[in-house]
């Protein structure tokens, strides 16, 4: 395992120390594993928090700050944080207007956030949750765990964070978040698995093949396919995502995220094809992000997220944001 770390058991705590050192605009509670904005949001606004297992950096802690999250609860590698810490973050960001939990749809995250919300409700905090479930690699039905939450989380955190900053109510934020969940979908593929510290060498994907519909926890994809180059991959990603989106005249906010071990030059190659594929399907790209936003340790892979965004969403997307990983106009 080729990793810049010391004791694998300290990886997450050590990384948090580095994050804190690099970003004085954050306040990190190292004991609890919670990252807050150093300057809290305006009182009277809804608190917006998220969290989950580590290994997906910059998600979530890299999106804490003005115009986005008020706090992120940082779990161990690929493991949801526990309800007590989610509760602590919830309590600390509540200024009376309630708190929104942004939860990626994984059984562990959902259950831990659920329990935290129950505890918070018991202590009188108005908590609502939105569960992001955008990964079309996974079938959604009443009897399954449903689609996983991946890249759409970033876009949702940005838009809803901006809306919270405007002073919108918890009900309004929930409705907005649900519209985003309804109109955003993602799909990823990888040329290598990720190497998880302490887990030995990862499964090798033979050259010339790819895992299609890969998750962000080293889990294998839905299928193993021949890898026929970036252009073919882009067409497949766009096909899969667009197939699961409701038809709409709205333009798209598009994100192509690297999974941690993919150089930017390659992401740009894929994105060039993605842009063309979307255009050829009549989907106008209003805004785009290309880079590492939701990763899976050192996985060589990329994932496409498309949100059909209405004017409100695009306006909120453009609002000032100042976080470690997303920053503009501030």
């Amino acid at each position: 395992m080729r990793k810049f770390m010391d004791d694998p058991d300290d990886l997450v705590a050590d990384a948090l120390r580095g994050l804190a050192a690099a970003h004085p605009e954050l306040r990190v509670d190292h004991a609890a594993g919670i990252v807050y904005r150093a300057e809290p949001a305006r009182p009277g606004t809804v608190g917006v928090i998220s969290g989950g297992g580590s290994g997906h950096e910059p998600l979530h802690a890299g999106f804490v700050g003005l115009g986005m999250l008020d706090a992120a609860v940082v779990g161990p590698l690929f493991t949801s944080p526990t309800p007590d810490r989610i509760l602590e973050a919830t309590t600390n960001v509540d200024s009376g207007a309630g708190v929104l939990h942004i939860v990626k749809n994984y059984t562990g995250d959902v259950m831990n956030f659920d329990m935290a919300a129950e505890f918070a409700a018991a202590s009188g905090i108005d908590v609502r949750a939105v569960v992001v479930e955008d990964d079309v690699a996974v079938e959604d039905s009443l009897h399954t765990a449903g689609r996983r939450g991946t890249g759409l989380t970033v876009i949702l955190e940005k838009i809803v964070g901006a809306a919270a900053g405007e002073g919108r109510s918890l009900d309004d934020l929930v409705a907005l978040a649900q519209r985003i969940v309804a109109h955003g979908r993602s799909m990823g593929a990888a040329l290598s698995s990720c190497s998880v510290p302490g887990h030995g060498e990862p499964a090798v994907i033979p050259e010339g093949e790819m895992e299609f519909g890969v998750g962000i926890h080293g889990e294998p994809g839905r299928s193993r396919l021949p890898f026929r180059g970036a252009r073919d991959l882009a067409a497949r990603l766009v096909d899969s995502v667009v197939h699961e989106l409701e038809t709409s005249d709205d333009p798209a906010i598009v994100m192509l995220s690297g999974l941690g071990g993919t150089p930017l030059i390659e992401l740009h190659v894929v994105y060039g094809h993605v842009a063309r594929e979307l255009e050829s399907r009549g989907i106008a790209v209003a805004r785009s992000l290309v880079g590492d936003y939701v990763t899976s340790l050192d996985m060589i892979g990329c994932a496409l997220t498309v949100l059909r965004a209405d004017d409100d969403m695009i306006g909120l997307w453009d609002a000032p944001v100042r976080t470690p990983a997303l920053r503009w106009k501030a």
């Binding site: 996974v138 009897h143 765990a145």
Partner: protein, 214 residues
């Protein structure tokens, strides 16, 4: 061989100590099962949580208080999917047990059932979804059945243990519909569910705790 005829606070503590020791010993097995169809951390998650349970310096003075303390410790240390599930199991077990210092066979049966209900409520898994419910539910059923027939605590627990093992074995051919393994679709077939496996450890530990305490 003699066995305890009631589940006292001491047996409860011993039960969890044995569970912790077993998870620590067979952690790699859980890791490997979870690597095959999950994210490979089930061993680490449960080891962290059960060690924290075993390390508590304070204990409850009723079965309710002790089980809730166990449950809360699991909830706050395990994380992932198994934390809320094993945690909820003991939280509900404690509520059902009430402020007593020991449970008879019937009382244990009721507490186990309440624990199972909590797990199902929390995780919304049905039998056959290839989760720990596939080991836990038959175990609770078997325990209840023997208890209703008037069997003693050891034989109820032994029956539960056997049922958990059978339930675990039966997860292998299933296609997962809940938890991370469900993302694999067909690829999940042929592997035992890690949570079902750790659930058998829980009933192994219960039987041993009851026997040793006698």
């Amino acid at each position: 061989m003699t066995t305890a005829d009631a589940l006292s606070i001491e047996v409860l503590v011993d039960w969890l100590a044995r569970f912790a020791a077993r998870v620590a010993r067979d952690r790699v097995e859980l890791t490997e099962l979870d690597t095959a169809i999950g994210d490979g951390d089930h061993g680490a998650n449960l080891a962290r949580g059960t060690a924290a349970v075993a390390d508590r310096s304070e204990h409850g003075d009723t079965v309710e208080a002790e089980a809730k303390s166990i449950g809360m410790t699991l909830v706050t240390t395990v994380g992932g999917a198994s934390g809320p599930l094993f945690g909820t199991f003991f939280l509900r077990f404690g509520v059902a047990a009430g402020p007593v210092t020991s449970l008879d066979t019937r009382g244990v049966a009721l507490a186990l059932r309440a624990g199972l209900d909590g797990v199902v409520e929390r995780g919304r898994a049905e039998r056959g979804d290839k989760t720990l419910v596939d080991a836990l539910a038959p175990a609770v059923d078997a325990f209840e059945e023997r208890a209703a027939a008037g069997d003693d605590l050891d034989s109820c627990a032994s029956a539960a243990r056997e049922a958990a093992r059978r339930g675990r074995d039966e997860t292998a051919p299933l296609l997962a519909r809940k938890g991370r393994a469900s993302y694999l679709g067909e690829r999940s077939i042929g592997h035992v569910d890690p949570g079902a496996q750790s659930t058998t450890y829980l009933f192994d530990a219960l039987v041993d705790a009851l026997r040793d305490d006698a």
